[in-house]
C-alpha cells in the first residue's frame, strides 16, 4: 500500500550531530581571535528545516526513553 506518511519519513535525511568547532588562536599579540561562526548562515531548504525539527523532537524522545 502506498503510505504517504511512510514515504515522507523515509525520504527525510536527518542531520548528523556536528561537533562544535574550536576557535583557531592566532599567534600575533594584537591579533584578535576570529571565530568561524561569524559567517552568515545560509537560509536552509524546507526539507532541511523539517529534518532539523524531526531530529530535535527525536533527540528529546530518546532522552525521555533513556531516563
Amino acid at each position: 500500500m502506498y503510505n504517504v506518511g511512510y514515504q515522507a519519513m523515509k525520504n527525510l535525511k536527518l542531520p548528523k550531530a556536528q561537533e562544535p568547532k574550536k576557535d583557531t588562536n592566532s599567534m600575533g599579540l594584537l591579533a584578535r581571535n576570529m571565530s568561524n561562526n561569524n559567517a552568515p548562515k545560509k537560509e536552509q531548504d524546507v526539507k532541511q528545516r523539517v529534518a532539523n525539527y524531526v531530529a530535535q523532537i527525536r533527540k528529546a524522545r530518546m532522552e525521555l526513553n533513556n531516563d
Binding site: 503510505n3 504517504v4 506518511g5 511512510y6 515522507a8 519519513m9 523515509k10 527525510l12 536527518l14 524546507v46 526539507k47 528545516r49 523539517v50 529534518a51 525539527y53 524531526v54 523532537i57 527525536r58 528529546a60 524522545r61 525521555l64 526513553n65
Partner: protein, 170 residues
C-alpha cells in the same frame, strides 16, 4: 494474459469535480497557512491540547499507525483550506515524531507505520548476523563434531503367533 481492470464502482463520476462553482471549495482558495512553520503552529497546539490528546492516545493505542493518523490530519487540513498538499506532506514527519514523543511520554504502545523509521543509524539484523558469523569464523576454526552413534534400541522379541518375524541384518 492481462486481466481487465475491475470496475471502480465507488469512483467519482467523470466531471463531478465541475459540479461545484470553481472557487467554492476551501482547497480552491488561497491557503490559510503558507509555510511549514505556520502549519506547525496550527497543528502542534491542537495535538497537545489535553482534550484532543486523550482521544489521540486512545487511537494510537488501538494500533493505528502514526503515519496513517498524520496523513488523516493533514488531509483534513487540506480539505479545510488550511494549507496546501505540499505543506501537508512536509509537515507530516514532524507530526509523526511529535505523536511518537507524546506516546512515549504517556507510556503507551503504538505503531509508527514501519519499523524502518526508528533508529535509522542502527544496522539491520541481517548485517549484524553477517558480522557475527564472520567474527565467529575468525575466532576459532570449525570443530568437526564426531558422529554420535545412536544406540539402537533392540526391540524385545515378541513371542506372539501373529507377530512379524524380524530378520537379522535388516
Amino acid at each position: 494474459m492481462i486481466e481487465p481492470a475491475k470496475p471502480m464502482i465507488d469512483a467519482p463520476i467523470a466531471g463531478q469535480s465541475l459540479t461545484a462553482e470553481l472557487g467554492n471549495r476551501p482547497w480552491q482558495q488561497p491557503p490559510q497557512y503558507n509555510t511549514v512553520e505556520e502549519a506547525l503552529e496550527f497543528y502542534i497546539p491542537r495535538i497537545t491540547n489535553p482534550d484532543m490528546l486523550e482521544d489521540l492516545l486512545d487511537v494510537m493505542e488501538t494500533g493505528i499507525p502514526l503515519t496513517t493518523i498524520a496523513n488523516a490530519l493533514q488531509s483534513g487540513g487540506v480539505m479545510e483550506g488550511k494549507h496546501t498538499i505540499d505543506v501537508g506532506i512536509l509537515v507530516m514527519p514532524v507530526l509523526i515524531e511529535t505523536m511518537a514523543y507524546l506516546g512515549d511520554e504517556a507510556g503507551i504502545e503504538y505503531t509508527v507505520g514501519s519499523n524502518k523509521l526508528e533508529d535509522t543509524d542502527k544496522p539491520t539484523d541481517s548485517r549484524i548476523a553477517n558480522i557475527m558469523s564472520k567474527i565467529e569464523d575468525e575466532k576459532e576454526p570449525a570443530i568437526e563434531e564426531e558422529p554420535v552413534e545412536a544406540e539402537m534400541e533392540s526391540e524385545p522379541p515378541s513371542g506372539g503367533l501373529m507377530s512379524r518375524r524380524i530378520q537379522d541384518g535388516v
